[in-house]
């Protein structure tokens, strides 16, 4: 067997997870539909005044993104855990952190990226300005990977536990608050004519820190859960 390079490992894992997801497309779609539904519920709850909706749109989209990313976290490791694949991955000679990073990226492509792509359509429902739409997409692009990364820690810690779905939200949501603040803050900044640079920089910084540490922490969490 020829030895896999780290990049090769990463690509292999991502392709495998994407392929598995494409074999069962409904899983990906339900998360997306959930996101659309939650966002559409807000105008029904708070009333149809466009002025207010325009102000709230950024926050609503971000909260909905947070919730729907929680919803899909359970799937990140559970299928592999149940059929024993995860155990083999832990035994693999390659770096577990890189392997986990691959799974996180695949999870983001399946749950975060579709959300980023559909968000502008939802933004139109809220009468957002083109500038705000652009900023929203940009911020979601920066922020949703962080949600997947922090979520991966929670998913790994709660692997195989009863009530795992609710528990993972309880663990992960408080840790995601900074992402919510700066993601929604940038949209508000552009609405009030301020610069988005501080928000974008902070979110970018968080993305880099998360990228550096969360795969390793998640790998540790998996080892704790699987021993």
């Amino acid at each position: 067997m020829n030895k896999l390079s780290l990049l090769g490992l990463l690509v292999t894992i991502i392709r495998r997870d994407l392929l598995l997801a494409m074999r069962r497309r409904s899983d990906v779609l339900t998360t997306l539909i959930f996101f659309v539904m939650v966002v559409s519920l807000f105008p029904l709850g708070v009333g149809p005044e466009l002025d207010m909706l325009r102000k709230m749109a950024g926050g609503i989209v971000w909260v909905a993104a947070l919730l729907s990313s929680m919803l899909s976290l359970g799937r990140m490791f559970s299928a592999d855990y149940l059929d024993g694949t995860l155990e083999q991955m832990l035994l693999a000679p390659q770096s577990l952190s890189v392997l986990v990073l691959g799974k996180i990226l695949a999870h983001w492509m399946l749950s975060g990226l579709p959300l980023v792509l559909i968000a502008p359509v939802l933004g139109l429902q809220f009468d957002m300005s083109p500038d705000a739409l652009l900023v929203m997409v940009l911020m979601l692009l920066l922020g949703t990977p962080i949600l997947s990364m922090i979520g991966a820690i929670g998913a790994a810690l709660t692997l195989g536990l009863r009530g795992g779905g609710v528990l993972v939200s309880l663990l992960v949501l408080p840790l995601c608050i900074p992402v919510l603040i700066f993601g929604a803050g940038a949209i508000e900044a552009v609405n009030t004519g301020m610069t988005i640079v501080p928000h974008a920089s902070l979110l970018g910084a968080m993305l880099l820190v998360a990228l550096a540490f969360t795969p390793w922490v998640t790998a540790q969490a998996l080892r704790i859960s699987m021993e």
Binding site: T158, L161, L170, L175, G185, I224
Partner: protein
């Protein structure tokens, strides 16, 4: 005389040590509470700005300080347990969590009681209030995670990892909430810069010391229960006076 400290890292020896130590912390805690509250309520004069309502600081400030300090302490113990595989450290982390959550809750509750007459609202989305609330959520997450894992070893290690990740996140959360608040609007609420009356200071430090001693006493009592629960299969537990009777 040299003391072998490692002797007490074994649950079986620490159980007895903790039992002996508890009264030494519990009694002074009760005494200082009484003294501190007496000075706070009867000796300290009313505040120039806030009149009588300020007196809530004698419980509010110690609770806030300790809720934050206990989280770090808990994360520290949890990290020790994770790194050196010492069971007692993990048990200490578990035993500190409910007390920390309690103090976070007391801090929020007394803050609300103070806020109503002072700010005219039970709750404002001030940076400090919001981060204290998130701290309470972090405690609850830690407790919930440990409660849902049956295997104590996995519970310890999973909780430890969560506590460490949480303590790395606490400053990030604090500053993001702070900037979020200042980006929205200038802070309308500031503590009055007046220097405190000496009796107020004394009362506050005494109640802080009392709360601190209470934390130690109560976490030692709780860790004794945890030790008994986890070591119930061992011989030394079955030979204990209180277990046999």
């Amino acid at each position: 005389m040299s003391i072998n400290w490692f002797k007490y890292s074994a649950p079986s020896t620490f159980y007895h040590l903790a039992g002996k130590l508890i009264p030494w912390f519990a009694v002074p805690a009760a005494f200082l509470f009484v003294v501190g509250l007496y000075i706070g309520f009867f000796v300290a004069p009313p505040d120039a700005v806030q009149s009588e309502a300020y007196r809530i600081i004698f419980i509010h400030v110690p609770a806030s300080i300790l809720s934050m300090f206990i989280y770090l302490l808990m994360a520290g113990y949890a990290a020790l347990g994770l790194i050196f595989n010492t069971r007692l450290s993990s048990m200490m982390a578990t035993s500190l969590a409910p007390t920390g959550a309690l103090f976070a809750f007391i801090s929020l509750w007394t803050g609300a009681l103070w806020g109503k007459p002072m700010w005219g609202a039970w709750w404002v989305w001030d940076a400090r209030l919001t981060s204290e609330l998130i701290l309470l959520f972090l405690y609850l997450g830690f407790i919930a995670l440990q409660a849902s894992i049956d295997d104590p070893r996995r519970a310890d290690r999973a909780g430890a990892l969560l506590a460490i990740v949480g303590s790395v996140n606490v400053p990030i959360i604090y500053f993001s909430v702070k900037w979020w608040n200042t980006l929205h609007q200038g802070s309308t609420i500031k503590f009055t810069g007046t220097s405190m009356h000496i009796a107020m200071q004394q009362a506050m430090f005494i109640t802080l010391a009392a709360c601190w001693l209470y934390v130690i006493a109560v976490s030692l009592a709780r860790v004794r229960s945890i030790i008994l629960e986890r070591e119930r299969a061992t011989q030394w537990v079955s030979e204990l006076q209180e277990v046999r009777s």
